[in-house]
């Protein structure tokens, strides 16, 4: 297993959503159908995150449910926040929590299939490592406490900053940091002393 420096092959950050999500939500208070613009903007990303955690079939329903719940709760949205991504990821995270058993079962399945999913072309050293990690990672994720898993995956897979993750989960940023620290420790144990998160290299520019 090769540890890969975090700066290598780093995929581009998902660009920040245009800061007009709040404007869409504000408009939807008078024109409810305007809320569909938020769906058009964020539904694919929400689906991707849900599919990574629960599989594509469940993701279809969770994507729709996330926006239905968001629509019903839009009057509670803090219109000072231009970017609705943390809010939406918070909703989908709470929905995913209701499928904890499904999620853990999925990780167990991925763990068993981990070594067999490397059929896709390997383009980089990082991908070699990632594919090798997939099985052990799934095993480790299955055993992580939910709060740690939610925090870790919002940062790693949803690409939220610590601040955004804190908003999504409704906890202080300090709690996000401590959860990530504990999650890292557990992953490090699972990976024989290697930290697959590379957080030391990224912490500064993500927090």
């Amino acid at each position: 297993m090769t540890a890969v420096p975090a700066h290598l092959d780093r995929p581009p950050r998902v660009p920040e959503a245009p800061p007009d999500d709040a404007a869409v939500i504000r408009r939807s208070l008078d024109e409810p159908e305007a809320f569909t613009a938020l769906y058009d903007r964020h539904a694919p990303a929400i689906h991707r995150y849900a599919a990574q955690r629960l599989g594509a079939d469940a993701a279809d329903d969770l994507m729709a449910e996330t926006f239905l719940i968001a629509f019903r709760k839009r009057r509670d949205y803090d219109l000072e926040r231009g970017n609705a991504r943390p809010w939406l990821y918070g909703i989908v995270t709470r929905l995913i929590a209701r499928h904890r058993r499904t999620e853990v079962s999925r990780y167990r399945l991925l763990q068993r299939l981990g070594g067999e999913t490397a059929a896709e072309p390997v383009e980089s050293e990082a991908k070699v490592s990632a594919q090798a990690l997939r099985g052990p990672l799934a095993q480790a994720l299955a055993t992580l406490p939910r709060a740690y898993r939610d925090t870790l995956l919002l940062v790693a897979w949803a690409d939220l900053s610590y601040e955004e993750t804190a908003t999504a989960l409704g906890v202080p940023v300090g709690t996000v940091r401590s959860r990530l620290s504990r999650a890292r420790a557990k992953l490090r144990d699972a990976f024989g002393g290697i930290d697959p998160t590379g957080l030391d290299d990224e912490e500064d520019d993500r927090g």
């Binding site: 539904a43 990632a130 990690l133």
Partner: protein
């Protein structure tokens, strides 16, 4: 995080169909669709007494929703509906059962609006149940222009009956015979639906999910014991196609959170009070003519529900 990010399960983008279905659900919820116009109609205007009884109206609701194809996808109730139902079950479970020897009294208003003609029929019924949910007595009558529900002129039922006094006349529906374990209750209700028990004959071909949803709605109109009421809500969580709609008015115009199931020719909603989750009533909007949208609105409101010392006594 790079490695961790790349070790994420490989997933494809949502299909066009999934994206479209989600958007349609959202737009439909946002728009309120053709139903919104009906929901905004004043319910109480122009009431006048009519001869039709609660039985006919309840059967009308059933006939109007002769079903067909469920439009709402999914293998269980939606997540939002499940959240409401869990809260409703918890609220029901916290209620104290009626003391032995008491009767449970309910008064229900039923309204039927024919949109084409503007005719509005109002009927009210008073019912007395034993604490175990056994129907015991009933009186029905027309509602008066002064908004008071009077049943003294209507027909009455006196004595235990295998038919519930909520107008649907379906046999073997005694609440006392139903299990309070949600899994067992679900099995029982679907088994009844499959074998045509506890259902009116002309609707035996309706989807079982709708029959179960409809039957649970009728049971919730009765003062069933708290444990059974909680189990009914928990069973609804497992019924496909059940969703939530906010701000739905009952027959009295009280607005609440509705658990709805949409069918090809309309929808049926069970309305709960937003904060207490107490049952308020029901609403069904149906179309007998596709080209005209909603043609009929049926709504009920539970006006009173309280223990009393004897049958034909009032709180």
């Amino acid at each position: 995080m790079t490695v961790l990010r790349q070790a994420a399960p490989e997933v494809g983008p949502p299909t066009h169909e999934a994206l479209r279905a989600g958007r349609v659900r959202l737009a439909e919820t946002a728009r309120g669709g053709w139903r919104a116009k009906v929901l905004r109609r004043p319910v109480r205007g122009g009431w006048r007494p009519v001869g039709a009884g609660a039985v006919a109206l309840a059967l009308g609701v059933a006939a109007a929703l002769t079903v067909l194809q469920a439009l709402t996808p999914g293998g269980t109730a939606s997540a939002a509906a499940a959240e409401v139902l869990r809260n409703a079950a918890a609220a029901a479970r916290a209620e104290a059962p009626a003391a032995p020897g008491k009767f449970l009294y309910t008064k229900t208003l039923t309204v039927h609006i024919t949109l084409q003609t503007g005719d509005t029929n109002h009927t009210c019924s008073e019912s007395w149940f034993l604490p175990d949910g056994t129907p015991w007595a009933m009186r029905t009558g027309a509602d008066r222009n002064d908004d008071r529900c009077r049943t003294s002129d209507g027909p009455s039922l006196n004595g235990p009956s295998s038919k519930r006094p909520d107008g649907d006349g379906r046999p073997r529906a005694d609440a006392r015979a139903l299990p309070t374990d949600p899994a067992a209750l679900r099995e029982r209700l679907y088994d009844d639906a499959e074998h045509g028990r506890a259902d009116i004959p002309e609707r035996r071909n309706a989807p079982h999910d709708f029959l179960v949803f409809d039957r649970i709605g009728r049971l919730l109109r009765m003062p069933v014991p708290p444990a059974l009421r909680a189990a009914l809500y928990e069973t609804l969580i497992t019924v496909p196609g059940v969703d939530v709609r906010q701000d739905v008015p009952d027959a009295l115009g009280r607005r609440g959170t509705a658990l709805v199931r949409t069918e090809a020719d309309g929808w049926l909603g069970l309305i709960l009070a937003p904060r207490t989750y107490h049952y308020l009533g029901s609403r069904a909007e149906s179309s007998f003519d596709e080209s005209k949208g909603v043609t009929d609105v049926y709504a009920t409101a539970l006006l009173a529900s309280a223990p009393v010392d004897g049958k034909f006594r009032r709180p």
